[in-house]
Protein backbone atom coordinates (compact mmCIF):
# COMPACT_ATOMS: atom_id res chain seq x y z
CA UNK A 1 0.00 0.00 0.00
CA UNK A 2 1.70 3.14 -1.15
CA UNK A 3 -0.57 5.29 0.97
CA UNK A 4 0.69 3.81 4.19
CA UNK A 5 3.52 5.38 6.04
CA UNK A 6 4.04 4.15 9.53
CA UNK A 7 6.06 6.75 11.36
CA UNK A 8 8.04 5.57 14.28
CA UNK A 9 11.31 7.41 13.89
CA UNK A 10 12.35 9.11 17.08
CA UNK A 11 13.21 12.75 16.89
CA UNK A 12 11.18 13.72 13.83
CA UNK A 13 8.85 15.98 15.71
CA UNK A 14 10.99 17.89 18.15
CA UNK A 15 10.58 21.07 16.16
CA UNK A 16 6.84 21.05 16.76
CA UNK A 17 7.09 20.75 20.52
CA UNK A 18 9.36 23.56 21.58
CA UNK A 19 9.02 23.09 25.32
CA UNK A 20 11.76 20.57 26.08
CA UNK A 21 11.87 18.27 29.05
CA UNK A 22 14.12 20.40 31.20
CA UNK A 23 12.20 23.62 30.68
CA UNK A 24 9.57 25.02 32.96
CA UNK A 25 6.22 23.80 31.66
CA UNK A 26 3.50 26.35 31.65
CA UNK A 27 0.91 23.89 30.50
CA UNK A 28 0.75 20.19 29.98
CA UNK A 29 -1.79 18.12 28.15
CA UNK A 30 -2.60 14.63 29.26
CA UNK A 31 -3.12 12.25 26.35
CA UNK A 32 -4.34 8.70 26.57
CA UNK A 33 -3.14 6.99 23.46
CA UNK A 34 -4.23 3.57 22.38
CA UNK A 35 -1.27 1.18 22.15
CA UNK A 36 -1.76 -2.28 20.76
CA UNK A 37 -2.47 -4.37 17.72
CA UNK A 38 -4.99 -6.95 16.55
CA UNK A 39 -4.33 -9.17 19.55
CA UNK A 40 -5.36 -6.50 22.02
CA UNK A 41 -4.12 -3.37 23.66
CA UNK A 42 -4.65 -0.67 26.21
CA UNK A 43 -4.53 3.07 26.61
CA UNK A 44 -1.30 4.58 27.83
CA UNK A 45 -1.16 8.00 29.44
CA UNK A 46 1.41 10.56 28.31
CA UNK A 47 1.96 14.11 29.57
CA UNK A 48 2.89 16.45 26.77
CA UNK A 49 4.07 20.07 27.04
CA UNK A 50 1.74 22.36 25.15
CA UNK A 51 2.85 25.16 22.83
CA UNK A 52 0.46 27.66 21.25
CA UNK A 53 -1.29 26.36 18.18
CA UNK A 54 -0.39 22.73 18.80
CA UNK A 55 -2.57 20.03 17.29
CA UNK A 56 -3.10 16.46 18.45
CA UNK A 57 -0.68 15.18 15.80
CA UNK A 58 2.05 17.45 17.24
CA UNK A 59 1.47 15.89 20.63
CA UNK A 60 1.66 12.40 19.12
CA UNK A 61 4.94 13.38 17.45
CA UNK A 62 6.26 14.68 20.76
CA UNK A 63 5.41 11.36 22.37
CA UNK A 64 7.18 9.53 19.54
CA UNK A 65 10.23 11.72 19.94
CA UNK A 66 10.48 11.70 23.72
CA UNK A 67 8.58 8.80 25.21
CA UNK A 68 7.61 6.06 22.80
CA UNK A 69 9.66 5.79 19.62
CA UNK A 70 7.70 2.72 18.60
CA UNK A 71 4.33 4.49 18.59
CA UNK A 72 2.80 3.89 15.15
CA UNK A 73 0.93 6.70 13.44
CA UNK A 74 0.20 7.39 9.79
CA UNK A 75 0.63 10.94 8.58
CA UNK A 76 2.04 12.87 5.68
CA UNK A 77 1.12 16.51 5.29
CA UNK A 78 0.13 17.90 8.70
CA UNK A 79 -2.04 20.28 6.72
CA UNK A 80 -5.36 18.42 6.60
CA UNK A 81 -4.85 17.62 2.95
CA UNK A 82 -3.47 14.08 2.65
CA UNK A 83 -6.13 12.31 4.70
CA UNK A 84 -3.65 10.01 6.46
CA UNK A 85 -3.92 10.96 10.12
CA UNK A 86 -7.53 9.91 10.73
CA UNK A 87 -8.20 8.74 14.28
CA UNK A 88 -10.80 9.11 17.01
CA UNK A 89 -10.08 11.96 19.37
CA UNK A 90 -12.27 11.83 22.48
CA UNK A 91 -14.42 9.37 20.58
CA UNK A 92 -14.98 11.62 17.58
CA UNK A 93 -13.59 10.67 14.18
CA UNK A 94 -11.15 13.49 13.40
CA UNK A 95 -7.98 14.36 11.57
CA UNK A 96 -5.29 14.56 14.25
CA UNK A 97 -3.55 17.37 12.37
CA UNK A 98 -6.72 19.47 12.29
CA UNK A 99 -7.68 19.06 15.95
CA UNK A 100 -6.14 21.74 18.13
CA UNK A 101 -5.21 21.04 21.72
CA UNK A 102 -6.62 24.38 22.88
CA UNK A 103 -9.99 23.09 21.70
CA UNK A 104 -10.10 20.96 24.87
CA UNK A 105 -10.46 22.10 28.45
CA UNK A 106 -7.06 22.26 30.19
CA UNK A 107 -7.83 19.74 32.89
CA UNK A 108 -9.35 17.13 30.61
CA UNK A 109 -7.58 14.05 29.35
CA UNK A 110 -7.55 13.77 25.57
CA UNK A 111 -8.03 10.26 24.28
CA UNK A 112 -6.60 9.24 20.91
CA UNK A 113 -7.67 5.92 19.45
CA UNK A 114 -7.49 4.30 16.03
CA UNK A 115 -10.54 4.25 13.74
CA UNK A 116 -13.00 1.65 14.95
CA UNK A 117 -14.39 0.53 11.65
CA UNK A 118 -11.21 -0.80 10.06
CA UNK A 119 -8.89 -3.61 11.15
CA UNK A 120 -6.08 -2.37 13.32
CA UNK A 121 -2.45 -2.80 12.28
CA UNK A 122 -0.69 -1.17 15.20
CA UNK A 123 -1.47 1.64 17.67
CA UNK A 124 -3.16 4.40 15.66
CA UNK A 125 -2.73 2.79 12.26
CA UNK A 126 -5.60 0.86 10.68
CA UNK A 127 -5.83 -1.10 7.47
CA UNK A 128 -8.05 0.92 5.14
CA UNK A 129 -7.32 -1.14 2.03
CA UNK A 130 -10.94 -2.33 1.85
CA UNK A 131 -11.76 1.16 0.62
CA UNK A 132 -9.37 0.89 -2.30
CA UNK A 133 -10.94 -2.41 -3.25
CA UNK A 134 -14.42 -0.89 -3.20
CA UNK A 135 -13.15 1.92 -5.36
CA UNK A 136 -12.08 -0.56 -8.05
CA UNK A 137 -15.65 -1.87 -8.37
CA UNK A 138 -17.14 1.48 -9.34
CA UNK A 139 -17.94 1.72 -13.07
CA UNK A 140 -15.40 4.27 -14.32
CA UNK A 141 -15.95 7.44 -16.31
CA UNK A 142 -17.27 6.64 -19.78
CA UNK A 143 -17.60 9.49 -22.28
CA UNK A 144 -21.07 10.17 -23.55
CA UNK A 145 -21.42 8.94 -27.16
CA UNK A 146 -20.95 11.84 -29.53
CA UNK A 147 -20.14 14.20 -26.69
CA UNK A 148 -19.14 17.70 -27.65
CA UNK A 149 -16.28 18.32 -25.24
CA UNK A 150 -17.25 21.84 -24.37
CA UNK A 151 -19.18 22.72 -21.28
CA UNK A 152 -19.86 25.62 -18.98
CA UNK A 153 -18.40 26.23 -15.55
CA UNK A 154 -21.95 26.06 -14.20
CA UNK A 155 -22.16 22.45 -15.42
CA UNK A 156 -19.24 21.37 -13.27
CA UNK A 157 -19.68 23.61 -10.22
CA UNK A 158 -21.62 20.84 -8.62
CA UNK A 159 -19.07 18.05 -9.11
CA UNK A 160 -16.17 20.21 -7.99
CA UNK A 161 -17.35 19.92 -4.41
CA UNK A 162 -16.91 16.16 -4.64
CA UNK A 163 -13.36 16.52 -5.93
CA UNK A 164 -12.33 18.04 -2.61
CA UNK A 165 -12.36 14.61 -0.98
CA UNK A 166 -8.99 13.75 0.57
CA UNK A 167 -9.88 10.10 1.20
CA UNK A 168 -9.41 10.31 4.93
CA UNK A 169 -12.19 7.72 5.33
CA UNK A 170 -13.52 9.42 8.44
CA UNK A 171 -16.98 9.30 6.89
CA UNK A 172 -16.56 5.56 6.32
CA UNK A 173 -15.41 5.20 9.92
CA UNK A 174 -18.41 7.00 11.41
CA UNK A 175 -21.12 5.60 9.13
CA UNK A 176 -23.20 3.24 11.23
CA UNK A 177 -23.90 0.93 8.29
CA UNK A 178 -20.19 0.06 8.24
CA UNK A 179 -19.27 0.77 11.85
CA UNK A 180 -22.13 -0.85 13.73
CA UNK A 181 -23.97 -3.02 11.24
CA UNK A 182 -20.75 -4.22 9.59
CA UNK A 183 -22.26 -4.43 6.13
CA UNK A 184 -19.02 -3.80 4.27
CA UNK A 185 -19.81 -6.47 1.71
CA UNK A 186 -23.11 -4.74 0.84
CA UNK A 187 -22.46 -1.04 1.28
CA UNK A 188 -19.87 1.11 -0.45
CA UNK A 189 -20.07 3.91 2.11
CA UNK A 190 -20.35 7.70 1.91
CA UNK A 191 -16.88 8.32 0.47
CA UNK A 192 -17.81 6.28 -2.58
CA UNK A 193 -21.21 7.86 -2.95
CA UNK A 194 -19.29 11.11 -3.17
CA UNK A 195 -17.10 9.64 -5.89
CA UNK A 196 -20.05 8.12 -7.76
CA UNK A 197 -21.93 11.44 -7.54
CA UNK A 198 -18.90 13.13 -9.10
CA UNK A 199 -19.02 10.67 -12.00
CA UNK A 200 -22.81 10.52 -12.37
CA UNK A 201 -23.25 14.29 -12.46
CA UNK A 202 -20.32 14.92 -14.76
CA UNK A 203 -21.61 16.64 -17.91
CA UNK A 204 -19.64 14.39 -20.26
CA UNK A 205 -20.21 11.06 -18.54
CA UNK A 206 -22.41 8.54 -20.35
CA UNK A 207 -22.45 5.68 -17.84
CA UNK A 208 -25.56 4.97 -15.77
CA UNK A 209 -24.70 3.77 -12.28
CA UNK A 210 -28.22 3.62 -10.80
CA UNK A 211 -28.32 -0.17 -10.96
CA UNK A 212 -24.89 -0.41 -9.38
CA UNK A 213 -25.95 2.02 -6.67
CA UNK A 214 -29.07 0.07 -5.86
CA UNK A 215 -27.88 -3.52 -6.14
CA UNK A 216 -24.19 -3.41 -5.35
CA UNK A 217 -23.27 -0.19 -3.58
CA UNK A 218 -26.32 -0.56 -1.30
CA UNK A 219 -27.45 3.07 -1.31
CA UNK A 220 -30.78 1.95 0.17
CA UNK A 221 -28.95 0.98 3.36
CA UNK A 222 -28.07 4.60 4.02
CA UNK A 223 -30.74 6.10 6.26
CA UNK A 224 -29.52 9.66 5.66
CA UNK A 225 -28.67 10.29 9.30
CA UNK A 226 -25.80 12.53 8.15
CA UNK A 227 -22.95 11.42 10.41
CA UNK A 228 -20.69 11.34 7.36
CA UNK A 229 -21.45 15.01 6.70
CA UNK A 230 -20.77 15.85 10.36
CA UNK A 231 -17.23 14.50 10.32
CA UNK A 232 -16.01 15.39 6.82
CA UNK A 233 -12.92 17.60 7.27
CA UNK A 234 -13.39 19.00 3.76
CA UNK A 235 -16.95 20.08 4.65
CA UNK A 236 -18.40 18.19 1.72
CA UNK A 237 -22.16 18.16 2.12
CA UNK A 238 -22.09 14.42 1.56
CA UNK A 239 -25.67 13.53 2.42
CA UNK A 240 -27.50 16.50 0.91
CA UNK A 241 -25.44 16.99 -2.21
CA UNK A 242 -24.24 13.49 -3.07
CA UNK A 243 -26.31 10.77 -1.42
CA UNK A 244 -29.81 12.27 -1.59
CA UNK A 245 -29.50 13.33 -5.26
CA UNK A 246 -28.25 9.80 -6.04
CA UNK A 247 -31.16 8.31 -4.10
CA UNK A 248 -33.51 10.44 -6.18
CA UNK A 249 -31.91 9.11 -9.37
CA UNK A 250 -32.33 5.55 -8.12
CA UNK A 251 -36.00 6.36 -7.41
CA UNK A 252 -36.36 7.59 -11.00
CA UNK A 253 -35.29 4.19 -12.28
CA UNK A 254 -36.55 1.70 -9.73
CA UNK A 255 -39.21 3.09 -7.40
CA UNK A 256 -41.28 5.73 -9.19
CA UNK A 257 -44.30 3.82 -10.57
CA UNK A 258 -45.46 6.50 -13.00
CA UNK A 259 -42.00 7.00 -14.43
CA UNK A 260 -41.58 3.28 -14.85
CA UNK A 261 -44.85 3.01 -16.76
CA UNK A 262 -43.92 6.04 -18.82
CA UNK A 263 -40.57 4.47 -19.67
CA UNK A 264 -42.28 1.23 -20.71
CA UNK A 265 -44.66 3.12 -23.00
CA UNK A 266 -42.25 5.55 -24.58
CA UNK A 267 -39.03 3.61 -24.30
CA UNK A 268 -37.33 6.66 -22.74
Amino acid sequence: MTQTMVESRPGTATAQAPAGEGQARSREAVLRVFRGDASGGSEVEYRVPVAPGMVVLDAIHWIQAHRAPDLAVRWNCKAAKCGSCSAEVNGKPSLMCKTRLDHFAQDRTISVRPMKTFPIIKDLVTDVSWNYEVNKRIPPFKPRPGADWRWQQSDVDRVQEFRKCIECFLCQDVCHVLRTHELKHQFAGPRFFVRIAGLEMHPMDGEDRSGFLKDHAGIGLCNITKCCTEVCPESITITDNAIIPLKERVVDWFYDPLRMVWRKLTGR
Binding site: K92, P93, T117, P119
Partner: protein, 303 residues
Protein backbone atom coordinates in the same frame (compact mmCIF):
# COMPACT_ATOMS: atom_id res chain seq x y z
CA UNK B 1 -18.70 2.03 30.25
CA UNK B 2 -15.26 3.10 31.25
CA UNK B 3 -13.87 4.65 28.10
CA UNK B 4 -10.34 4.14 29.31
CA UNK B 5 -10.62 0.43 29.88
CA UNK B 6 -8.31 -1.97 28.13
CA UNK B 7 -9.57 -3.63 25.05
CA UNK B 8 -9.17 -6.89 23.32
CA UNK B 9 -10.58 -8.33 20.14
CA UNK B 10 -12.70 -11.29 19.38
CA UNK B 11 -10.75 -14.27 18.11
CA UNK B 12 -9.98 -14.42 14.43
CA UNK B 13 -8.86 -10.82 14.04
CA UNK B 14 -5.57 -10.01 12.56
CA UNK B 15 -5.74 -11.58 9.15
CA UNK B 16 -5.21 -8.49 7.12
CA UNK B 17 -4.91 -9.98 3.67
CA UNK B 18 -6.42 -7.49 1.27
CA UNK B 19 -9.33 -9.03 -0.61
CA UNK B 20 -8.70 -9.31 -4.30
CA UNK B 21 -10.87 -7.60 -6.86
CA UNK B 22 -11.32 -9.98 -9.73
CA UNK B 23 -11.66 -7.73 -12.76
CA UNK B 24 -14.16 -9.86 -14.68
CA UNK B 25 -16.47 -10.60 -11.76
CA UNK B 26 -19.77 -8.90 -10.97
CA UNK B 27 -19.22 -5.52 -9.39
CA UNK B 28 -20.19 -6.62 -5.89
CA UNK B 29 -18.32 -5.30 -2.90
CA UNK B 30 -15.37 -6.96 -1.20
CA UNK B 31 -15.17 -7.71 2.48
CA UNK B 32 -12.37 -6.54 4.72
CA UNK B 33 -11.00 -10.05 5.03
CA UNK B 34 -11.56 -9.91 8.78
CA UNK B 35 -14.62 -11.48 10.42
CA UNK B 36 -17.42 -9.17 11.49
CA UNK B 37 -17.26 -8.28 15.15
CA UNK B 38 -13.49 -8.37 15.28
CA UNK B 39 -12.84 -4.69 14.70
CA UNK B 40 -12.31 -2.39 17.59
CA UNK B 41 -15.89 -1.25 17.04
CA UNK B 42 -17.16 -4.80 17.53
CA UNK B 43 -20.42 -3.95 15.80
CA UNK B 44 -23.31 -5.29 17.77
CA UNK B 45 -21.00 -6.22 20.59
CA UNK B 46 -21.76 -2.70 21.75
CA UNK B 47 -24.83 -1.65 23.64
CA UNK B 48 -27.26 1.14 22.79
CA UNK B 49 -25.55 4.34 23.83
CA UNK B 50 -22.08 2.80 24.21
CA UNK B 51 -19.58 5.36 23.03
CA UNK B 52 -16.16 6.83 23.58
CA UNK B 53 -17.51 10.31 22.98
CA UNK B 54 -17.25 12.55 25.99
CA UNK B 55 -19.57 15.37 24.96
CA UNK B 56 -23.30 15.64 25.54
CA UNK B 57 -24.16 13.65 22.41
CA UNK B 58 -27.58 12.75 23.84
CA UNK B 59 -28.73 16.38 24.12
CA UNK B 60 -29.69 16.84 20.47
CA UNK B 61 -31.69 13.61 20.00
CA UNK B 62 -33.40 14.25 23.32
CA UNK B 63 -34.37 17.80 22.34
CA UNK B 64 -35.61 16.55 18.97
CA UNK B 65 -37.61 13.74 20.53
CA UNK B 66 -39.27 16.19 22.92
CA UNK B 67 -39.92 18.76 20.18
CA UNK B 68 -41.31 16.28 17.67
CA UNK B 69 -43.24 14.47 20.39
CA UNK B 70 -44.97 17.57 21.76
CA UNK B 71 -45.80 19.11 18.39
CA UNK B 72 -46.92 15.71 17.09
CA UNK B 73 -49.20 15.24 20.09
CA UNK B 74 -50.72 18.68 19.67
CA UNK B 75 -51.31 18.12 15.96
CA UNK B 76 -52.96 14.74 16.58
CA UNK B 77 -55.14 16.12 19.32
CA UNK B 78 -56.17 19.13 17.22
CA UNK B 79 -56.88 16.97 14.18
CA UNK B 80 -59.24 14.71 16.13
CA UNK B 81 -61.18 17.55 17.77
CA UNK B 82 -63.36 18.20 14.74
CA UNK B 83 -64.46 21.59 16.12
CA UNK B 84 -63.19 25.15 16.60
CA UNK B 85 -61.23 25.03 13.36
CA UNK B 86 -62.96 28.02 11.83
CA UNK B 87 -63.38 31.55 13.03
CA UNK B 88 -65.01 33.98 10.62
CA UNK B 89 -62.71 34.16 7.61
CA UNK B 90 -59.96 32.12 9.27
CA UNK B 91 -59.57 28.40 8.64
CA UNK B 92 -57.09 26.26 10.55
CA UNK B 93 -54.39 24.85 8.23
CA UNK B 94 -55.01 21.37 9.66
CA UNK B 95 -58.52 21.48 8.18
CA UNK B 96 -57.76 23.03 4.82
CA UNK B 97 -59.14 22.33 2.28
CA UNK B 98 -62.31 21.89 4.29
CA UNK B 99 -64.10 18.83 3.04
CA UNK B 100 -67.00 17.60 5.18
CA UNK B 101 -69.01 14.78 3.55
CA UNK B 102 -72.09 13.78 5.48
CA UNK B 103 -71.09 10.11 5.60
CA UNK B 104 -67.80 10.88 7.34
CA UNK B 105 -68.21 10.20 11.07
CA UNK B 106 -65.11 11.83 12.56
CA UNK B 107 -63.11 15.00 12.24
CA UNK B 108 -62.81 16.30 8.64
CA UNK B 109 -59.10 16.94 9.25
CA UNK B 110 -58.42 13.22 8.96
CA UNK B 111 -59.52 13.27 5.32
CA UNK B 112 -56.88 15.85 4.50
CA UNK B 113 -54.09 15.52 6.99
CA UNK B 114 -52.64 12.23 5.73
CA UNK B 115 -51.13 14.14 2.80
CA UNK B 116 -49.07 16.71 4.73
CA UNK B 117 -48.33 14.04 7.33
CA UNK B 118 -47.00 11.72 4.63
CA UNK B 119 -45.00 14.61 3.18
CA UNK B 120 -43.30 15.23 6.51
CA UNK B 121 -42.93 11.57 7.42
CA UNK B 122 -41.07 10.82 4.19
CA UNK B 123 -39.12 14.11 4.17
CA UNK B 124 -35.37 13.52 4.02
CA UNK B 125 -34.83 15.83 6.98
CA UNK B 126 -37.51 14.35 9.22
CA UNK B 127 -36.28 10.87 8.38
CA UNK B 128 -32.91 11.78 9.79
CA UNK B 129 -34.52 13.38 12.84
CA UNK B 130 -36.76 10.48 13.78
CA UNK B 131 -34.31 7.72 12.89
CA UNK B 132 -32.01 9.39 15.37
CA UNK B 133 -34.42 10.57 18.04
CA UNK B 134 -36.94 7.72 18.11
CA UNK B 135 -35.21 4.73 16.55
CA UNK B 136 -31.73 5.42 17.92
CA UNK B 137 -30.40 4.29 14.57
CA UNK B 138 -27.97 5.88 15.46
CA UNK B 139 -29.00 8.26 18.26
CA UNK B 140 -25.83 10.23 17.55
CA UNK B 141 -22.67 9.69 15.53
CA UNK B 142 -20.22 7.08 16.81
CA UNK B 143 -22.72 5.92 19.43
CA UNK B 144 -23.85 2.29 19.85
CA UNK B 145 -27.27 1.10 18.72
CA UNK B 146 -29.97 -1.33 19.73
CA UNK B 147 -29.01 -4.86 18.79
CA UNK B 148 -30.90 -5.94 15.72
CA UNK B 149 -29.30 -8.26 13.26
CA UNK B 150 -31.44 -7.48 10.27
CA UNK B 151 -30.61 -3.85 9.59
CA UNK B 152 -31.90 -3.04 6.14
CA UNK B 153 -31.94 0.75 6.09
CA UNK B 154 -34.55 1.89 3.61
CA UNK B 155 -34.51 -1.27 1.53
CA UNK B 156 -37.53 -3.10 2.91
CA UNK B 157 -41.16 -2.40 3.81
CA UNK B 158 -42.20 -0.05 5.36
CA UNK B 159 -39.10 2.10 4.93
CA UNK B 160 -38.82 1.40 1.21
CA UNK B 161 -41.94 3.59 0.88
CA UNK B 162 -39.77 6.60 1.73
CA UNK B 163 -38.90 6.46 -1.96
CA UNK B 164 -42.38 7.80 -2.75
CA UNK B 165 -41.63 11.14 -1.13
CA UNK B 166 -41.94 12.95 -4.46
CA UNK B 167 -45.64 12.02 -4.72
CA UNK B 168 -46.33 13.62 -1.36
CA UNK B 169 -44.41 16.63 -2.61
CA UNK B 170 -46.78 16.93 -5.60
CA UNK B 171 -49.73 16.83 -3.19
CA UNK B 172 -48.07 19.37 -0.92
CA UNK B 173 -47.75 21.78 -3.84
CA UNK B 174 -51.51 21.50 -4.50
CA UNK B 175 -52.32 22.03 -0.83
CA UNK B 176 -50.03 25.05 -0.80
CA UNK B 177 -52.18 26.74 -3.46
CA UNK B 178 -55.24 26.16 -1.27
CA UNK B 179 -53.47 27.50 1.80
CA UNK B 180 -52.60 30.68 -0.07
CA UNK B 181 -56.24 31.03 -1.00
CA UNK B 182 -57.03 30.75 2.74
CA UNK B 183 -54.52 33.52 3.43
CA UNK B 184 -56.19 35.80 0.88
CA UNK B 185 -59.57 35.03 2.39
CA UNK B 186 -58.26 35.89 5.84
CA UNK B 187 -57.85 39.51 4.71
CA UNK B 188 -61.58 39.88 3.98
CA UNK B 189 -63.72 40.41 7.06
CA UNK B 190 -67.45 39.97 6.66
CA UNK B 191 -69.45 42.81 8.19
CA UNK B 192 -72.61 42.30 10.28
CA UNK B 193 -74.83 44.20 7.88
CA UNK B 194 -73.54 42.53 4.69
CA UNK B 195 -70.49 43.10 2.56
CA UNK B 196 -66.92 42.89 3.77
CA UNK B 197 -63.90 45.03 4.55
CA UNK B 198 -60.23 44.39 3.88
CA UNK B 199 -58.19 44.27 7.03
CA UNK B 200 -55.42 42.56 8.92
CA UNK B 201 -56.24 40.57 12.00
CA UNK B 202 -54.12 38.46 14.30
CA UNK B 203 -55.33 35.39 12.44
CA UNK B 204 -54.38 36.96 9.09
CA UNK B 205 -50.83 37.32 10.34
CA UNK B 206 -50.77 33.81 11.79
CA UNK B 207 -51.99 32.29 8.52
CA UNK B 208 -49.71 34.46 6.38
CA UNK B 209 -46.67 33.64 8.49
CA UNK B 210 -47.49 29.95 8.49
CA UNK B 211 -48.16 29.68 4.77
CA UNK B 212 -44.94 31.56 4.02
CA UNK B 213 -42.97 29.10 6.13
CA UNK B 214 -44.80 26.13 4.61
CA UNK B 215 -43.93 27.46 1.16
CA UNK B 216 -40.27 27.80 2.10
CA UNK B 217 -40.33 24.28 3.51
CA UNK B 218 -41.95 22.85 0.39
CA UNK B 219 -39.75 24.78 -2.03
CA UNK B 220 -36.61 23.59 -0.27
CA UNK B 221 -37.56 19.92 -0.70
CA UNK B 222 -34.85 17.56 -1.97
CA UNK B 223 -37.25 15.85 -4.37
CA UNK B 224 -38.24 19.22 -5.83
CA UNK B 225 -34.55 20.06 -6.17
CA UNK B 226 -34.11 16.88 -8.18
CA UNK B 227 -37.19 17.52 -10.27
CA UNK B 228 -36.42 21.11 -11.29
CA UNK B 229 -32.90 20.37 -12.46
CA UNK B 230 -30.94 18.15 -10.12
CA UNK B 231 -31.49 15.17 -12.36
CA UNK B 232 -29.66 16.84 -15.26
CA UNK B 233 -25.95 16.25 -15.77
CA UNK B 234 -25.35 19.08 -18.16
CA UNK B 235 -27.45 22.23 -18.01
CA UNK B 236 -25.88 23.76 -21.10
CA UNK B 237 -26.65 20.66 -23.19
CA UNK B 238 -30.44 20.53 -22.81
CA UNK B 239 -33.45 22.56 -23.85
CA UNK B 240 -34.31 25.35 -21.39
CA UNK B 241 -31.05 24.59 -19.56
CA UNK B 242 -30.64 28.19 -18.42
CA UNK B 243 -33.98 28.49 -16.58
CA UNK B 244 -33.54 25.00 -15.16
CA UNK B 245 -30.12 25.90 -13.81
CA UNK B 246 -31.66 29.01 -12.25
CA UNK B 247 -34.51 27.02 -10.72
CA UNK B 248 -32.14 24.35 -9.43
CA UNK B 249 -29.80 26.96 -7.96
CA UNK B 250 -32.68 28.74 -6.23
CA UNK B 251 -34.06 25.52 -4.76
CA UNK B 252 -30.52 24.57 -3.74
CA UNK B 253 -30.14 27.80 -1.76
CA UNK B 254 -33.42 27.14 0.04
CA UNK B 255 -32.48 23.49 0.45
CA UNK B 256 -29.49 24.50 2.55
CA UNK B 257 -32.01 25.73 5.15
CA UNK B 258 -34.42 22.82 4.85
CA UNK B 259 -33.98 21.74 8.45
CA UNK B 260 -34.77 25.22 9.75
CA UNK B 261 -37.85 25.51 7.55
CA UNK B 262 -38.98 22.05 8.65
CA UNK B 263 -38.94 23.07 12.30
CA UNK B 264 -40.25 26.61 11.93
CA UNK B 265 -43.12 25.54 9.71
CA UNK B 266 -44.04 22.80 12.16
CA UNK B 267 -44.24 25.37 14.94
CA UNK B 268 -46.14 27.84 12.79
CA UNK B 269 -48.73 25.36 11.57
CA UNK B 270 -49.51 24.35 15.16
CA UNK B 271 -49.56 27.98 16.20
CA UNK B 272 -51.95 28.95 13.40
CA UNK B 273 -54.34 26.17 14.42
CA UNK B 274 -54.07 27.16 18.06
CA UNK B 275 -54.79 30.80 17.26
CA UNK B 276 -57.91 30.01 15.26
CA UNK B 277 -59.00 27.51 17.91
CA UNK B 278 -58.61 29.97 20.79
CA UNK B 279 -60.48 32.69 18.88
CA UNK B 280 -63.27 30.26 18.06
CA UNK B 281 -63.46 29.11 21.67
CA UNK B 282 -63.67 32.72 22.77
CA UNK B 283 -60.52 32.46 24.84
CA UNK B 284 -58.77 35.27 22.98
CA UNK B 285 -60.18 38.26 21.20
CA UNK B 286 -58.96 38.75 17.63
CA UNK B 287 -58.08 42.38 16.88
CA UNK B 288 -58.45 43.70 13.31
CA UNK B 289 -57.00 46.78 11.67
CA UNK B 290 -59.23 47.73 8.73
CA UNK B 291 -57.58 48.96 5.57
CA UNK B 292 -60.61 49.63 3.39
CA UNK B 293 -64.13 50.84 3.57
CA UNK B 294 -67.07 48.55 3.01
CA UNK B 295 -67.26 46.45 -0.14
CA UNK B 296 -70.84 45.74 -0.83
CA UNK B 297 -71.37 42.17 -1.90
CA UNK B 298 -75.07 42.60 -2.55
CA UNK B 299 -74.24 41.95 -6.20
CA UNK B 300 -73.23 38.44 -5.26
CA UNK B 301 -69.47 38.59 -5.57
CA UNK B 302 -67.61 37.87 -2.44
CA UNK B 303 -64.76 35.86 -1.16
Amino acid sequence: MNPHSDRSWAGGAGTLAAPSASPGALPGLPSTGVPAGSFRGRGFGERLGATEREDAWWAQPLAQAIGLGLLGLYATWAAFQGNHYEFGNYLSPFYSPLFKPSWWPISPAILILWAPLGFRATCYYYRKAYYRAFFGDPAACAVGEIKSKGYCGELKFPFVLQNLHRYFMYLALVILVILWYDVIRSFAFAQPNGGFRIGIGGGTLALLFNTTLLSLYTFSCHSLRHLVGGKLDCFSCVAAGGPRLKAWSAVSVLNGHHMGFAWWSLFSVCFADLYVRLCSMGVIHDGVIYLSSLFDTAGGTGL
